[in-house]
């Protein structure tokens, strides 16, 4: 395997809660690697820490209340992003590593034309003249499938539909040809037919431009279609990682398994859905032992008191579960 492009090691991002009384351990020791040119899916439900992880990579966490703990590493091209001077970090952010967000309306500035906003990164990072940057911006708008890009460049965000705004976001992110694109729920605010357009576009652009994508989503269907490998998060931790085919064929962690069974599927007959009992605990009070044990059908004494490590669970896979060491404890047969 080649050297990873981006290596996240033992990332801990904590928040002081509103009344200053507690600490929310939103991301609590997360490690994973992103290989060149691959799509890594980062999956989990709200409150699992996936968005905080992605914001931490580019140091976009507001401090205070947020705080990335010493001992966390985010390695990119041999340097720890968390230790860079702000000036050096700016040279990477939006240039070598770019990001698109869930809500394209709030992430675009309403008082600038989309042409100006797309061109900005090329002026800042590549020193292009305004005229050249505008030409690049129009090129990018064409690349992401905006019709009549030369005219649309003079439009303001409110003149575009949600799907078109997300295309503009993608054009903005990709104008400097980044090596890493962080896509945080890029299609969650969109209708399913528009979502299909955007997923298709990201897939095509990745093939043409060769960047690696960190795809953050709650939707297992999107992960199944778009990702090469998957990291599943629960309660601020990685609970499982695996190549996408292996993960869906044989989920190793009971949380992953429960999540897959609770998704309503088009390719299944109408039936009662499997539901994971309870709900995600609060980040200020993760359960002792395994953080999933109060909702886990297999939990025994050990799970309630001892926190499981994240051991290998097959080639290229890990799972944070005591069942990896004691598979006979699985209820209802393996």
């Amino acid at each position: 395997m080649t050297d990873p492009l981006l290596r996240v090691r033992d990332l801990k991002t904590y928040f002081v809660t509103e009344h200053g009384t507690g600490t929310a351990r939103a991301v609590d020791g997360v490690s994973f690697e992103l290989q060149p040119g691959e799509t890594l899916g980062l999956v989990g439900e709200s409150g699992c820490g996936k968005t905080v992880t992605s914001l931490s990579i580019l140091r976009l966490i507001p401090e205070p209340p947020g705080h990335i703990l010493p001992g966390s590493f985010i390695e990119f091209e041999g340097r720890n992003l968390l230790a860079l001077a702000p000036r050096d970090l700016r040279a990477i952010r939006g240039n070598r590593i770019a990001m698109i967000f869930q809500e394209p309306m709030t992430s675009l500035n309403p008082v600038f034309t989309i042409g100006d906003q797309v061109a900005e990164a090329a002026i800042v990072h590549q020193g292009l003249s305004r005229k050249d940057a505008r030409a690049r911006a129009v090129e990018m708008l064409a690349l992401v499938g905006i019709p009549e890009p030369d005219q649309r460049a003079d439009d303001y965000p409110h003149q575009l539909s949600g799907g078109m705004r997300q295309r503009v976001m993608i054009a903005m992110a990709l104008i400097c040809h980044p090596q890493v694109l962080i896509a945080d729920e890029p299609t969650t605010a969109l209708d399913v037919t528009i979502q299909a357009q955007i997923l298709e576009l990201l897939d095509r652009l990745q093939r043409e431009l060769g960047m690696a994508i960190l795809l953050i989503t709650h939707d297992l269907g999107i992960v199944a279609g778009a990702a090469d490998r998957v990291v599943v998060m629960y309660a601020g931790q990685v609970v499982e990682s695996a190549p996408v085919k292996e993960l869906f064929a044989r989920p190793a962690h009971p949380y992953t398994e429960g999540l897959m069974e609770s998704v309503p599927r088009l390719d299944a007959q109408r039936s009662r859905l499997h539901a994971i009992p309870g709900s995600v605990p609060a980040a200020t009070a993760w359960p002792a032992g395994c953080r999933f044990h109060p909702r886990c059908p297999h939990a025994w004494d050990k799970c309630r008191t001892e926190e499981p490590p994240l051991p290998a669970a097959g080639p290229g896979r890990t799972a944070r579960c005591w069942l990896v060491a004691e598979p006979a404890r699985r209820k209802g047969g393996a």
């Binding site: 209708d191 399913v192 037919t193 279609g225 996408v244 709900s279």
Partner: protein, 329 residues
């Protein structure tokens, strides 16, 4: 077949379109949010209503309940003309038809405890008071799977799934026979979504409730609906028993929607039909078939741009509004 509980005939709801600055000037045309919809809901069944944002599905639901006044058309519920009712009769009707909203946080009063929220409709409709009301509140909580100690909580002290259970309990408190569920699970995480869908299915079985279940997620609807209607630009373009609609859709819009839903199985990736463009604006719908500018049907011809296809029966129980519904793609 039993008589329908709810009959909607040629329902139309138009809104005045955008005015000039600061709401001044005459409205420029109308937004045709609901544009001639007819459908039935039978006692105890679930009709799924699917469509993308702007298709008019929520407006349709709210006009049926007369939370919005109609522009034209008729709604009959238990053989009463809903739009002809006076204030008293309308209040009595509200006991029979209830609504569950998408956002359980926005639709619960933040200053009321769960007990107050659930007791209020009992007082308004003079169903129970005092000790009887208190007992009803506890039995409602139990019915939606919450313990008695939730009665003293405020909305902010609960998770999204728990709040949605309270929203359902409030709707049940007046013992309706019909519930409009407007995207009741779309704000919930998938593990909790399954809990709420199962709860709705259990309640339906126990109380013989009829649901009009509005959702944008076709997979969710597949797990709850007996029949499904698909909306596009204010019109129903297809309606069929769920099994038929999912197995053999007759309208190219239904086919495209189904193909766009991601399947959570990397081994079962299918060919996606990627529709070009966005939903047109309902203030200026295309002439002819409203779907024709985006339609991927290979036989699409000039007629589609001029002639509105009729919604007609193309198979037993299956209606579709496409010139080529007899030869679907």
């Amino acid at each position: 077949m039993s008589a329908p509980l709810l009959e909607v005939r040629d329902l139309v709801k138009h809104f005045p379109a955008q005015r000039g600055f600061f709401g001044m000037g005459r409205p420029k045309g109308v937004v045709r949010a609901v544009d001639g919809v007819s459908l039935n809901v039978l006692p105890g069944e679930t009709l799924g209503l699917v469509g993308e944002s702007g298709s008019g599905k929520s407006t349709l639901g709210r006009t049926i309940l007369r939370l919005l006044e109609p522009t034209a058309g008729a709604v009959r519920f238990e053989n009463q003309d809903v739009f002809a009712l006076g204030a008293d009769a309308l209040r009595a009707l509200r006991r029979r038809m209830q609504i569950v909203f998408q956002d359980p946080y926005g639709s619960l009063n933040p200053r009321m405890t769960v007990r107050q929220t659930l007791a209020e409709p009992l007082q308004i409709h003079r169903i129970a008071s005092g000790a009887a009301a208190a007992a009803r509140v506890l039995s409602l909580l139990e019915e939606v799977g919450l313990t008695a100690d939730f009665a003293d909580r405020y909305p902010h002290e609960m998770s999204g799934g728990q709040r949605q259970r309270v929203g359902i309990a409030r709707a049940l408190s007046v013992e309706p026979v019909f519930m409009l569920c407007d995207e009741p699970v779309s704000a919930l995480d998938v593990s909790v979504q399954a809990q709420v869908l199962n709860l709705l299915a259990d309640l339906q079985k126990k109380r013989r409730l009829a649901y009009l279940f509005i959702a944008h997620d076709l997979a969710v609807v597949k797990h709850i609906a007996d029949r499904v209607a698909v909306m596009y630009l204010g019109k129903i373009v297809e309606e069929a028993p769920a099994a038929k609609l999912y197995e053999r859709p007759r309208h190219p819009y239904t086919t495209s929607l189904l193909s766009a839903v991601p399947i959570p199985d990397p081994a079962a990736q299918k060919r996606r039909i990627v529709l070009a463009g966005d939903i047109p604006s309902p203030s200026n719908p295309p002439p002819g078939c409203p779907f024709h500018p985006r339609c991927p049907h290979p036989k699409k011809d000039a007629r589609c741009g001029t002639e509105v296809p009729a919604l007609r029966e193309v198979a037993p129980g299956q209606r579709a509004a496409c010139h080529f519904a007899e030869a679907p793609m």
